[in-house]
Amino acid sequence: MRPVVGFVWLVLISSPSQMMGQAIRVGVHGVAVTHSEVTSALKANGLGVGGLLGLRVGRFGFEARGYWADLDSDRSDGTGFAILQVDGRAHFVVARSVAVEVGAGRRFIDPEFATQEIGIFRVGILSEYPLSSIATVWGRGAYLIASQFSGGGTAGLAVELGLGTSVGTPDGRVKALGEFEFQRFDREVRRQDVPLQAMVVRFGVEFGFR
């Protein structure tokens, strides 16, 4: 019951003008993914496609995004795999250009044991700043809590960092964007370091609706 009451309270304290600024975003991305595990020998690169559905209601923003990429191992004898990553995020603007962000994500791997499947929760900061009426730059940083790995283990340090920029029409109907998202998991399994690292670069277009 408390979360519901808290949510209603947050909606109520949001200013009416911002509440009226509702917007839906739909995006299509091309992605380039670099995935590493344990050592540089287990690095894989690949390309894929992604998508985004976003909703902004006043001070709140909700976002569902995902990508699928087919990765090849750098090693000639390595096996490739495919990644399907889905993420859900919600943010609340606490000050001009600063929002608190929470979310969850899941990474599926095909074939199943080619690398670690991961489940995460994130808590972080999203900062977005308009460079002009047509361009925006943003950065984000989050701590990934309670990371779950298909192979077991825990991550003492699990962080996510990102940088992006977009240029579009003044009314926000169409914009092109470029973004990178970096994740690092200092995973340990039975006191053995088995780190994971991933970098996702997105380029794409987004369409806004009111």
């Binding site: 380039a32 670099t34 590493s36 595990e37 344990v38 050592t39 540089s40 020998a41 690095k43 690169n45 750098d74 900062s127 700043y129 460079l131 002009s132 009426s133 047509i134 361009a135 730059v137 943003w138 950065g139 940083g141 962080v159 960092l161 990102g162 940088l163 992006g164 920029t165 240029v167 003044p170 470029g178 973004e179 990178f180 970096f182 690092r184 200092d186 780190p195 690292q197 970098m199 670069v201």
Partner: protein, 340 residues
Amino acid sequence: MTRRHGVFLLTALFLAPAPIAAQQHPAVVRAKAAYDALDFSRAITAARNALQQERLNAADQILAYEVLAYSYGVLDSARQAVDAFKELIFLDPDREPDVERVSPRITSLYASALGQVLVVRRLVVDSASFVAGEGSVPIHFELSRAGRAVTRVVGQGVELVVDSLLASGSTTARWDGLLPTGSPVPPGEYQVIATANEGRNEFSATTRLRVTHSAVDTMPHLTSLPGYTVLPEMETPPRDWRPLGIAVLYAGLSSAATLALEDTDLGGGVRPAILGVGVGSLLTGFVMSLKKPDPRPNQGNILYNQLLREQIAQRNAQIAVENDQRRRQVTLAILPISAN
């Protein structure tokens, strides 16, 4: 020449008779002819006969009394002259001897007669136009001596007492053109009656006026206040490097943090991504710095305009209320009607 004849001749020379207008009735014409011929005795006889034996209209009566009064005056018969002037004054209070053409003695006799009677003279109504209930029209008249003056307006089935006061000499009554109910009088012709009372003596003078109705002008609504202009709410700031600075800040912090957290043991692949997106961000900031800045809202001007619009709205609300009242009002135009 006897002394009496000398006085008569002197009087006749100095007190030249005033010219008297031609009239229709033969008896009055005869009296006037005798007067013009300086045969004042015959003029007196003819005038008296005309007044006693003939049926004269008002104008002829006035002329006959005038011949009589002037002739008595010339012949030094002061009492008879004053009596004749009194009758003349009652018949036409506004008719006076022309001081340019008659002797001071006759003027003096006229003034003496005027002081002995109570009449209303020189009744005049000014032209006026005013909103009913917010103005009045002056009614001027003179009382020949002290008495109570009652001014009434009669017409269109209405009889109104405008004023009642003790007065002497010139006085003015003011009529507001309203009925006792407060409504404006109906349009049409009215008679103004000024009555002077003193004991049993009573004398009235009348004149006429016309009242017309028209709508009261309304005021136009305001779109601006004099001396105050609406200021531009959007202003284009001067071009600056702020977008590039912001881009450098974001790209620098994100890239530096990412590079710091990169586990180099896991191989490359991170730096090209940072470089690509970072350079893209910087380039975007650089282009946005070169681009003409977008107009920004000027909060001071917005507040000023808001206050200005509130003032205009308040004034227009007052104008609307005032116009609403004006639409229910009537402008009275009052014009005296000439006796001719």
